[in-house]
Symmetry: C2
């Protein structure tokens, strides 16, 4: 379904950007629900250009260095709008290696699985904090009703990302709780 195509066209709806800018956009912001490496972005930009959905102008950066500033064409806008209105069936559930490990956790010593959860909590906590900070920084003292333009979508998905991470952490706490109670239930393995 070429979603990368529409992720890129959507960025270009806002303003002209370079491939490098797109790669950056797929970092912390958009990156909470879509991303791509530059090695996928540059070929896609080339393809979209051939298809006439975007076009670029060469801009000098300093003396020698040239960059390509891409903008969306009218045809591209129509194509994007047509996609935006689509209502496709639910995607298959996203893959999650930690959940997969948890599913098979019966084969681990409880202590080992407990440690994995603990480590996962640490990592998730960092991610959560980062997102929460971003949300607060931009929207803490703002009534969401007053938002307009790009800030609307940004707020919707950023708050959604925070909720998602909060929820993942809640689940991890629950797992940790349960595992520690399983440990307590265990017949003591003594070595003394």
């Amino acid at each position: 379904m070429r979603t990368l195509k529409y992720a890129i066209l959507g960025l270009l709806m806002q303003s002209p950007v370079t491939g490098y800018d797109i790669a950056k956009a797929f970092g912390p912001g958009l990156g909470s629900f879509w991303s791509a490496k530059h090695s996928q972005i540059y070929p896609e930009l080339k393809r979209l250009t051939v298809e006439g959905l975007i076009q670029y102008s060469v801009v000098m950066q300093g003396e020698r260095m040239e960059k390509k500033l891409y903008e969306i064409t009218e045809v591209g806008k129509e194509d994007f709008m047509q996609w935006l209105l689509q209502d496709p069936p639910l995607e298959p559930t996203p893959k999650d290696v930690f959940r997969l490990r948890s599913y098979y956790s019966q084969w681990l010593a409880e202590e080992d699985y407990f440690q994995l959860i603990q480590n996962q909590i640490e990592k998730r906590m960092k991610k959560y904090s980062y997102l929460k900070e971003r949300l607060d920084r931009h929207y803490k003292n703002v009534d969401p009703v007053t938002l307009t333009g790009a800030a609307r979508g940004d707020y919707l998905v950023l708050s959604g990302a925070v909720m998602r991470e909060q929820n993942y952490l809640d689940w991890l706490y629950q797992c940790r709780d349960l595992v520690s109670r399983w440990v307590q239930k265990n017949p003591q393995r003594c070595d003394g």
Copy 2:
């Protein structure tokens, strides 16, 4: 990182199964966090066999139809256990086309985006109900502390899947709320 390999080995840790069984397992159960089509499963089974991590015996089904019953080898078990103990860095956030659409929702008429949310809620609700039913059916009158074996992992990820869907719905309700308030704020477009 060949996660499919370990998803399959994990299934075989429990009991010998056919490729068809594995494809089924990636349906409603495991499917809440990992899945693969049969066209990916059969080649992977072949590869794992060549690598000596699994082996199969041919079993007759009826008169003519033969199926391959795969079981995990000792080497396979070791490989699986080694993977299970790993603690890799956080995966990139899973992609989500609906969130991508939401990010770009500024280009939609509020009414159109509202309708997309509404439809998404319906679909997500069905998925949530299905998972919740499964959870209740298996674990409603059970103290999770008493669970053992495969039921532990099953409970952990199933309850996690229910939480995740609940959370997604909460986010959708929030989006719907906000969008409807944006609509109210709008200058009325009259055609009379």
